[in-house]
């Protein structure tokens, strides 16, 4: 069985759910598009049980434990649900809930102090399934809240509403289901899973391992590896070649080895990045607010004394560590989506949605290349990232941003910085290209109501006009009623899947005419850069000199013979 199959998380359900929803539906409006190719229908089957978690992961500076949770009276159980477990946790961990509720993991709400933009999953529009807002019934599967059940309002302030177990379960047997069932046919997808023995899970809690964080972060964008390119289930048990830090043969780092936390606030949010960290390692235990390479490796990490070592350290002034040390992304056998076309979503066969699986990824699994609920996808593996200047700031195109349709592509998030900005470095990105619905009249992005049991949700009704109108109404936003499709790009900074040092980019990957960094503005890069007219003059000078010498030499030889001839 493949790693991907074994790691079938709650978020992974999302994929299956949509298909089921699609199948059950009848309200699809016929279009004039040509008949779709032969369809494959979703087999309704429960996902396989998850594997046991990877042991002995390194967890930041915390090593060893002084508490055996199986011995705690409060955790004897039985527990009816995870909220009951949370209540028990809080009898000792009295401040944990208060901590959690201040973090972005809880609030999904974040104001970037540098740009002032209001971000977080409750605000942004992305170019995958476009918006978590108004789709909480599904997307909330990745919110660490409890007590949100079908037909229940969100109650984030409720006591004991934090789900401790999704992050701290170390049995691998805990799972979350979408808060609501969505379209009627979806219920079948939640059947057949082993019931959770909450007491067992509660007695085997620990610091979060890669499996825990990966439950959500490996599955962003709707499935394994879909979103990031450098985060997918292959990182649960990666080879050393895939990730030198997380490999069991190497350091076996858990995520929190780098993403240190303070009061449950975890360092290293993409929303506010440290693109150039000159703080280095700091004093022992001091730096808990960044998850940069430099915070462990220092700002001058290459071997010295060595001529190349000094030069490589100097590269770090303008080149992010990741640029050389992550030569390719999506190289663990799990593919990532590079292109998504929403404009083809909603095609049906025999009155039902369908999917095609034309892409087989490295680990042998097939991936959707068309899916009625989402449209067309293109996948990629072993991809060369795109390189851009980046100072850590991203400007997002938000719900109220006016879109400049004269641009060929609208950036969903636009990396700021440039070569004249000393705080910027050249970073690798995964670019995600999506042709996504927008309000062509008002020229804004839209909230699309995808998930729900009502007759407007796209996943089930397949009427994008209705689902977007519903989403915009829920958000109280102006909607012209005119739907267009907008080419967009989102930029995902690459920082995981760090290769062993031997696999880092070689000099000539950039210092060559076919440089990886070709097209990045404002760099003089020996081996790649030329000085147009000066190179021309220099080479012309060399050529003329050689020609002159040849002519002069030739004349000398010729005249010499002639002179000798005359002398005779």
């Amino acid at each position: 069985m493949t790693a991907h199959a074994r790691f079938f998380t709650a978020a992974g359900f999302a994929l299956l759910l949509g298909v089921t929803a699609a199948m059950a539906q009848e309200k699809f409006q016929k279009t004039d598009s040509p008949p779709p190719p032969p369809a494959k229908y979703q087999k309704m089957e429960a996902p396989p049980p998850p594997p046991p978690p990877v042991l002995n992961q390194a967890f930041g500076p915390v090593l060893g434990t002084t508490a055996d949770h199986s011995k705690f009276e409060a955790l004897k159980g039985p527990f009816a649900d995870s909220a009951a477990v949370t209540k028990a946790c809080a009898t000792c961990h009295t401040e944990a809930e208060a901590h959690i509720k201040k973090t972005i993991h809880w609030t999904w709400d974040y104001v970037n102090p540098r740009t002032g933009q209001h971000l977080g999953k409750e605000n942004v529009i992305n170019n995958f399934c476009t918006n978590a807002k108004d789709n909480e019934g599904m997307c909330g599967v990745c919110h660490i809240g409890n007590g949100v059940k079908a037909n229940e309002e969100y109650a984030f302030n409720k006591q004991d509403s934090v789900d401790c177990l999704v992050c701290h379960d170390r049995t691998g047997k805990y799972y979350r289901l979408p808060p609501t069932r969505g379209n009627s046919a979806c219920a079948a997808m939640f059947e057949g899973r082993d019931p959770i023995n909450f007491a067992e899970v509660a007695q085997h809690v620990g610091l979060p391992g890669r499996e825990n964080c990966g439950t959500c972060h490996f599955n962003g964008g709707g499935g394994d590896g879909v979103k990031h390119g450098d985060l997918d289930s292959s990182l649960i048990r990666p080879s050393e070649a895939l990730d030198v830090h997380m490999s069991e043969q190497g350091q076996n780092f858990s995520c929190s080895e780098c993403h240190l936390s303070k009061d449950h606030k975890i360092a290293g949010s993409r929303y506010d990045m440290a693109a150039k960290d000159e703080g280095g390692v700091g004093k022992p235990g001091q730096r808990r607010d960044v998850a940069t390479c430099e915070s462990c490796h220092g700002a001058a990490p290459h071997p010295k004394p060595s001529l190349i070592g000094y030069q490589l350290d100097a590269h770090a002034e303008r080149i992010a560590c990741q640029t050389c040390h992550i030569p390719k992304i999506a190289r663990g056998g799990v593919a990532t989506i590079t292109d998504w076309d929403w404009s083809t979503a909603g095609k049906m066969v025999n009155g039902a949605g369908y999917y095609e699986e034309e892409y087989t990824q490295g680990n042998g699994e097939k991936r959707h290349t068309y899916w009625s609920i989402k449209g067309d996808f293109k996948w990629g593996e072993n991809l060369t990232p795109t390189y851009k200047w980046f100072n850590g700031e991203m400007i997002y195109t938000l719900a109220d941003s006016k879109i400049d349709t004269s641009k060929p592509v609208t950036p969903i998030n636009d990396p700021q910085g440039g070569w004249t900005d000393p705080r910027s470095r050249i970073w690798p990105f995964k670019e995600m290209h999506t042709n996504m619905p927008y309000d062509a009249g008002n020229k804004t992005l839209v909230f699309n109501h995808l998930w729900g049991a009502d007759d407007t949700a796209f996943w089930g009704n397949f009427n994008i006009r209705k689902s977007i109108a519903a989403g915009m109404k829920m958000e109280n936003r102006p909607f012209s009623g005119e739907i267009g499709f907008l080419p967009t790009v989102s930029n995902w900074p690459i920082t995981h899947m760090v290769a062993p040092k031997e696999e880092a980019l070689k000099c000539a990957a950039c210092h060559a005419r076919d440089s990886r960094l070709a097209g990045v503005p404002g760099i003089y890069m020996p081996g790649y850069s030329r000085f147009g007219w000066m190179d021309f003059l220099g080479l012309a000078g060399l050529g003329l000199t050689l020609a002159g010498v040849a002519v002069h030499g030739g004349l000398r030889v010729a005249m010499n013979k002639k002179n000798k001839g005359e002398a005779k």
């Binding site: 001529l307 070569w419 070689k506 210092h511 081996g527 000066m534 000199t545």
Partner: protein
């Protein structure tokens, strides 16, 4: 001054003697410099992407060869001033037209070289002018920009967001083209002696057959007999 000027066209009646005119150090300097310059040109133009040597290896060889050349030049500058040999490069332009005319026409027509080497003045006016240009303009442009280039790690932080590296590279590359042109002409000129290899042999053995004044011959016989071969 008049004494030196007349030595440009020394009395042809003086008997010719075979004498060491390029000392051991001078020859060591010349040939090691030649080797280093070829190495630097090959690796340097590889770094620039015009020749095929791999980038990293080229950078390593180029850097170490540059350091070696800088050391060599430091010693040689010292040598020039302690021995007074630096005077060899003072341009004596009076005879320049005659020499230019020789290379433009006389050499083709079989005319004799208008310049005769002497102990005090080993180079003709064109040579000293070319070498002076090499040592005062091209050389310093190369090594000064090269040192700045090599020490980029020391000033990378200051240069972030500026064209500094590009300017340094520009100067270095422009000087590299010039020195390459110089070397081509220089090598060609070595073939213009009595025989095509005469000058090269001289630069290897150090000995050439030149007219010596009685005073010079007497001095050498007395104080540096090793330099007189015949």
């Amino acid at each position: 001054m008049t004494a030196v000027a007349t030595s440009d066209f020394i009395d042809k009646e003086e008997p010719k003697r075979t004498v060491m005119i390029y000392s051991r150090y001078e020859r060591f300097w010349h040939w090691s410099q030649a080797a280093l310059i070829f190495t630097l040109a090959f690796t340097g133009f590889s770094i620039h992407g015009l020749l095929p040597l791999g980038y990293k290896l080229a950078v390593q060889i180029h850097s170490w060869a540059a350091i070696a050349l800088i050391v060599l030049w430091a010693f040689t500058t010292f040598w020039h001033f302690t021995t007074g040999q630096w005077r060899q490069y003072l341009p004596k332009l009076a005879s320049l037209p005659a020499i230019l005319k020789f290379y433009a026409w006389g050499i083709l027509a079989g005319a004799p070289h208008p310049y005769t080497k002497t102990l005090k003045r080993k180079q003709n006016a064109l040579q000293s002018l070319a070498y002076l240009w090499f040592m005062v303009v091209i050389g310093p442009a190369l090594w000064s920009s090269g040192i700045v280039y090599l020490t980029y790690p020391l000033w990378a932080k200051m240069a972030a967001g500026t064209h500094a590296l590009e300017i340094v590279a520009f100067i270095h590359l422009a000087a590299a083209y010039l020195i390459s042109i110089f070397v081509i002409i220089h090598i060609y000129m070595t073939t213009t002696g009595k025989t095509p290899l005469h000058y090269i042999k001289t630069m290897i053995t150090g000995y050439d057959t030149i007219p010596l004044s009685k005073a010079e011959a007497a001095y050498l016989a007395e104080d540096e007999p090793n330099r007189l071969k015949s």
